[in-house]
Amino acid sequence: MSTVDLHTLTGAYALHALSDEERGAFERHAADCEACAREALELSETAARLGLAVSVSSPSALKSRVMRRITAVRQDSPRVVPLTRPPGGGIRARRLSRWALAACVAGVAAFGGTTVWQYERAQDASEQARRSERRTDAIAAVLAASDARTAGAELAGGARGTVVVSKSRDEAVFIASGMAAPPSGKVYQLWFDDGGTMRSAGLMDSHRTAEAVLLEGAVDGASGMGITVEPAGGSAEPTSDPVALMTFPA
């Protein structure tokens, strides 16, 4: 196969749509062709997004089986893993750094979907589910908006926050992961930052350390958002210093 042909195989390679021989030929080529290696990695990440989109709920029996199995499975030792590329072992490329949002959204989507509902035993579970679904729809609409802009920030204690703003919808979504639970009897309250004046944008669910929340109210020109710890039920204005401040993406 000519080199020109090999360059065009990045898509088929990323989709596992090549024969073994073709895959070998492509990997040998990509080991020396930075452009192909990079493109193949990007397209592979793209294919993973196709996979995330067909996520289904995992049967709890499967998790029990897998968790039992791993106790008897010896792990590969990190020390025996060669630091250089093993023959035929895939492709190296520069580090990807933009995983943040997709990972957040994936985790939160899986979590904010049926997993939560499965654990809700309240009598009004279906009404909760409907409300939750409407919220999820609104969140999805912001994320899918053609003018959705994103900014991420490291928050205190290793938590991560991502804010997605859609100008056309005048709405914002805050996605948190790894936030410590608020102190007992307290909640996290979200605020729009109107040039230094804080306007309440609702409360976070104190039971969840990873969550996507639609900020309540219109963005209405707010320059950013903040999070404070407030007494249960929330406050009319902040009563403590913000634990996080984030500027909205331009």
Binding site: L9, A17, A106
Partner: protein, 194 residues
């Protein structure tokens, strides 16, 4: 009262997937439980799409998830995201299974499948990752019909590009190109960069 809902077993320790992988590689079973909660759904979805058989899908998904545990130390962040590493493994194992079965017996069954290009809706029938799905759905609509069919047949059905060409009655070169430019368009629409 609403029950507290936690991610994994420890609600205050939901680190990002890279960190989880690091702990899993060191034998941390609780970290693996957390990783499992994030990746199991997509793994099963991908495997089921390719294998189209409940029992086989669960078997392969289980193999994949155990392999994630076993080979966690092989994960290298410079080769991509954790989810990509896991889903690449899942897709590859599902495709391997289909192709080995195919090689031994079920050619006719496979040929029947090829007559019918899947609609995206059919594939995503039971999808629950709503947010991701919305974005992907929107971006798939930006592809040409041929790009979309080629990409979805290859990924969601696990066909080789030769099989895609056969089922769409297109020249091999055309399919190679459609797979590449279709994925590039998706990449740009989804904002995937490396």
């Amino acid at each position: 009262m609403k029950e507290a809902v936690h991610i994994g077993k420890n609600p205050s320790a939901e680190p990002d997937l890279q960190d989880l992988m690091g702990s899993v590689a060191l034998g941390d079973q609780q970290a693996f439980a957390g990783l499992y909660d994030v990746v199991a759904g997509p793994v099963i979805g991908v495997v089921r799409g390719v294998l189209r058989d409940q029992a086989q899908s669960e078997e392969v998904a289980q193999e994949v998830l155990v392999e994630v545990w076993r080979s966690a130390a092989r994960y290298r962040r410079e080769r991509g995201s954790v989810i990509n590493w896991v889903l690449t493994l899942a897709h590859q194992r599902a495709v391997d299974r289909v192709r080995s079965v195919e090689a031994s017996a079920a050619r006719e069954h496979r040929a029947a499948l090829l007559d019918h290009a899947p609609e995206y809706d059919e594939v995503t029938e039971q999808v629950e990752a709503r947010l991701e799905r919305e974005q992907v759905r929107r971006c798939l609509r930006t592809l040409t019909e041929l790009q979309r069919q080629s990409v979805t047949l290859a990924y969601y059905r696990g066909l080789t590009y030769r099989e895609v060409a056969e089922s769409l009655a297109l020249p091999l070169g055309t399919v190679k190109t459609r797979l590449r430019d279709g994925l590039i368009r998706l990449r740009d629409c989804l904002g995937v960069t490396a």
